[in-house]
Amino acid sequence: MTQYRYIIQITAFMLLFSSALWAQPSGTEILDKIDANMSSDTRYVKSKMVIHGPRSSRTVESESWSEGVSAFTEYLAPAREKGTKMLKLEDKLWIFSPSTDRTIQISGHMLRQSVMGSDLSYEDMMDDKKLSDVYNAVVVESEIIGETDCWIVEMTATTEDVAYQMRKLWVDKSRYIPLKEELYAKSGKLLKKTELSNMTKHGSRWYPGKISFKDMLKKGAGTEFIVDEIIFDVEIPEHILSKASLR
């Protein structure tokens, strides 16, 4: 009798375990759900970028319009940056500076420079490859961040031409939004860390109200990106995503 009970218990445990396994989505599914939640055809964002330097912090305000791989950003404050415009079309980036009244194309090594002294490089801003296209995602374990139960998705590059060989993503199990990301070098050294917080619902989507970037090799408190206003699937006038908007 005891033997039967033991067999039943084992079978029940295995059934439960297999159903749990079945319930766990694959890494690719998680990435697809994140994309569905966070990306849209077009988007308008009004935001603040708080750049924490070694001695002081400064805030840069901007508004931007994006459609697919193209984006246009205009800086609104502080006075020194006001009127600076940035246009990205496909893989090209131009910056208009009102103080010099010149438009320059950012390319090559200049793309690796920091944007306005932040922990973000122009290249980071331009990275718009779909994660599932270049990474093999595997759910490695679960972890609770704050009070949120998360999947930890480990992504390993499937192509050679990616900036980061490995990424680690903490994804909210219920809302399918990333809460944390770590970017690693080929050697396994942690290079950058991103934390997403203040999740807000926009229609059917969840979107972070604050994103903190930190270059882990550098001293400092990193850079915070605060979303003041975001509108998805907004209609963008044609001239905005053209070089004409730089003047």
Binding site: S107, G108, H109, M110, R112, A157, E160, D161, V162, A163, Y164, Q165, L183, A185, K186, S187, K189, L191, D215, L217, K218, K219, G220
Partner: protein, 390 residues
């Protein structure tokens, strides 16, 4: 000959006035030679140091490589051609692979060039023998300028981030195995040297290089496909232009002194002709042609330059000789703009410089002496004897 005798007597007779003019003119001589000697010495020293530390007898650049355009660096690498590879194994060439990197000394972010160099090389003075290509950790050497700006000491670990051939980030700590001192900032400022094979492995560029330094310039017509030879003419062009610019800037100082001396000579000549009208008239009346009289006055003026050479040699020779022995301490940061400059600059006074300066000042003096003397040719001897001409 008579003109020289007369000129000498008149100049000595003028006493203090002659002495002052000759002294200022001698100052111009010494300053011109001194200033140009500094630039020539700097040029010479910079060439010697740059050949020893950076360029040897020339460099083969991969066709995409352009040190003045960092944007080209990503694509500026290719397998070392067989001919250069053979030279490298004989110790006659040094392949160098260059990639952009970011270093993080004490958490600060600094741009740098990560350079891979054959550790067995003997062509350049960079102490590459300190590097260990077989070590498990990455060993690196840096110059004193980078060590100072990044606060590095031997044995320290420096965090370096770079990208491989596909653009993927990689980062690692490198151990500072040595710190070298050089007068050539191009191999020091922002340069981290590691073994060539190590960098080739880290970046996924086996057997590749960005440039190859050679100990012998190839003959005319010798070309290597995909690689361009750059000789001293090309590699020192920027240095020459910089020296030229500095020479022009520095010449303002001694040109003012020279102009003052020439002005004094000009004034003396004008005054002399005015005061010695009767003498001029007498010379002509005694049968001298006007040209001969003009000659006497021109030689008199020009003789200032000869006396100035003698006076200048008297104090200038030991002074300039002393500067060649002790050198001149260069101000801090002279090499910050990328030009090779040692702590002490030793002026170089070539014979051509000394003779050239003497000839130049003599010609200038003769011209300013001749200009007022031309009036003599228009003189009427009768009026001149009576002192009624001017």
């Amino acid at each position: 000959m008579i003109a020289f005798k007369l000129a000498y007597k008149n100049l000595i007779g003028a006493g203090l006035r002659t002495l002052l003019i000759v002294f200022v003119l001698s100052l111009a001589y010494v300053l011109i030679i001194y200033m140009n000697g500094i630039y020539q010495g700097w040029d010479r020293q910079a060439r010697i140091e740059t050949i020893a530390w950076e360029v040897a007898e020339g460099q083969y650049w991969q066709s995409e490589y352009d040190p003045y355009d960092a944007m080209t660096l990503t694509d500026a690498h290719a397998p070392v051609p067989a001919a250069l590879e053979a030279s490298a194994s004989e110790g006659k060439a040094v392949p160098i692979l260059i990639t952009q990197a970011t270093i993080y000394p004490e958490g600060r972010m600094m741009g740098a060039m990560l350079k891979g160099i054959d550790t067995r090389q003997k062509i350049l003075s960079i102490p590459t023998n300190i590097l260990d290509p077989d070590s498990e950790e990455i060993t690196a050497i840096v110059g004193t300028r980078l060590a100072k700006s990044a606060g590095l000491e031997i044995g320290d670990y420096l965090l370096v981030r770079w990208r491989d051939v596909h653009g993927t980030f990689d980062a690692s700590d490198v151990k500072i195995a040595g710190i070298f001192k050089t007068a050539v900032p191009a191999v020091d400022q922002g340069q981290v040297w590691i073994p060539l094979t190590t960098l080739q492995k880290l970046t996924g560029m086996p057997g590749e290089a960005s440039l190859v330094v050679v100990d012998k310039s190839p003959g005319e017509g010798v070309t290597i496909s995909g690689w361009d030879f750059k000789g001293h003419d090309f590699l020192f062009k920027a240095l020459e232009e910089m020296i030229k610019t500095k020479t022009v800037g520095g010449s303002v100082f001694y040109l003012i002194i020279l102009a003052l001396a020439l002005l004094a000579i000009f004034d003396t000549q004008v005054l002399s002709i005015f005061r010695r009208q009767r003498e001029i008239g007498t010379y002509i009346a005694m049968g001298m042609t006007r040209k001969q009289v003009v000659g006497i006055f021109t030689v008199e003026g020009g003789m200032h330059a000869i006396l100035a050479v003698m006076l200048g040699a008297l104090y200038g020779f030991p002074l300039l000789l002393w500067t060649t022995k002790t050198g001149i301490k260069m101000p801090e940061g002279t090499d910050d703009f990328g030009m090779a400059a040692a702590e002490h600059m030793y002026p170089y006074y070539s014979l051509a410089l000394i003779i050239g300066t003497i000839v130049l000042v003599m010609i200038a003096t003769t011209i300013v002496s001749y200009m007022p003397s031309r009036k003599i040719s228009k003189m009427n001897p009768n009026d001149a004897i009576r002192g009624k001409i001017i």
